[in-house]
Symmetry: C2
DNA sequence: CCGATACGCAACGGTTGCGTTTCATAACTT
DNA sequence: AAGTTATGAAACGCAACCGTTGCGTATCGG
């Protein structure tokens, strides 16, 4: 009756971490290539990962659970914020979105956010909590701070401002795919929303 | 050798306009219910329309052509613009988007615009020409006019402003489905973008 | 070595949708 | 009446994918 070092390991061959990682990677690859959750097939994932279907079904009972776990590995890398000005911090946050639009791997985050909210509401809920809310919180914090210290209007509707900032970037990335995004895009969006488009 | 009243009608039973209309309606219904183009099946359309598959295949050679034609029946109802002020015209245009988000039938326009751009690029291209560009042109015209007559900044980036205005509405409708959209949403978006969020 | 578990692989029966064909019937021209 | 085309229904063979099972092998603990 000896205890293993940390947890009592069950008898038999342990599950391959390499296989598990390969499955999640393959899932993200396929999603990143523009494949929707509906079209994503377990067989395609197994094939891409070089793994038997059995190995997948042993770990996840259905496709949605697998996708949720795969997306969970994409922890939102909310950047360090200088905190010097609202403008600079907003630019920093939008730059993250712009950069991700170029990386195949990270792009699927936004693809899924926009595409699958209707068809897989429960998946979307989990995904939102994991990948979207942290970023929204970061933007919200910057705006609230600016509202408190006078950089922004006192009557600002923070939620609406968040949607305006991110919406501009999302529309741009969605409908200009292929063409690289202008390097100063984030600055231009932030400055426009800060100063307004009306003449002074 | 007599000519028919208008066009020389070919011999035999004419194609049923009722069937054709039913097919297009069924297609729009299914799309409006949140079904993606990939999941949309000819069999489901035929069943919903009360029509044989033969009748569909005789008119369209593939699913994408059918979807394009179905979407084409949703002519962009660009509203009359009062033309009194840039602000009022922009509110009018955004109100169209907001209202459509409530109608099941019209909602699919936006759903497809956001979801299917990657997977069906050629469908998206046609769709964009039919349904998106007319609206973009209307917004662009308002902004250009405002830029010319001094209501808007002389150095305004019109394209970016369009994306900001529509992006805010799109994000709002996409992520708040279910909850009805506030009635003054369009006004609040327009005023925010016009005046900016920075303190004066 | 032995028992237990995981592995990749192949095959299974079942479902869905494809695009086509056949059929009896309906609608229209001459 | 005769000829022609369209219609809805049903069935076809084909392919993809489902979730499961069996196989021989690999990897662990005891």
């Amino acid at each position: 009756m000896s205890m293993s070092t940390t947890t009592a390991r069950p008898a038999g061959r342990p599950r391959s971490e390499k296989a598990e990682k390969a499955i999640l990677e393959a899932t993200l690859d396929l999603l990143g290539e523009g494949m929707g959750v509906s079209e994503l097939s377990i067989e395609a994932i197994a094939s891409r990962a070089g793994v038997g279907k059995t190995t997948i079904y042993r770990r996840w009972s259905n496709k949605e659970d697998l996708v949720v776990d795969a997306l969970a590995t994409l922890k939102a890398p909310v950047p360090e914020l200088a905190g010097e000005s609202v403008r600079d911090d907003l630019v920093t946050l939008l730059e993250v979105m712009r950069t991700e639009a170029g990386h195949v791997r990270r792009r699927c985050v936004m693809n899924i956010a926009m595409s699958e909210s209707d068809r897989h509401p429960q998946l979307f809920a989990k995904f939102r909590k994991i990948a979207i809310e942290p970023r929204r919180n970061a933007v919200r914090a910057v705006l609230e701070r600016g509202k408190a210290n006078g950089e922004l209007r006192a009557d600002l509707d923070v939620e609406l401002a968040m949607q305006t900032l991110t919406g501009a970037m999302i529309v741009h990335t969605k409908w200009h795919q292929g063409e690289p995004l202008a390097e100063d895009l984030s600055e231009r969006i932030v400055d426009m929303v800060l100063e307004g488009i009306a003449a002074r």
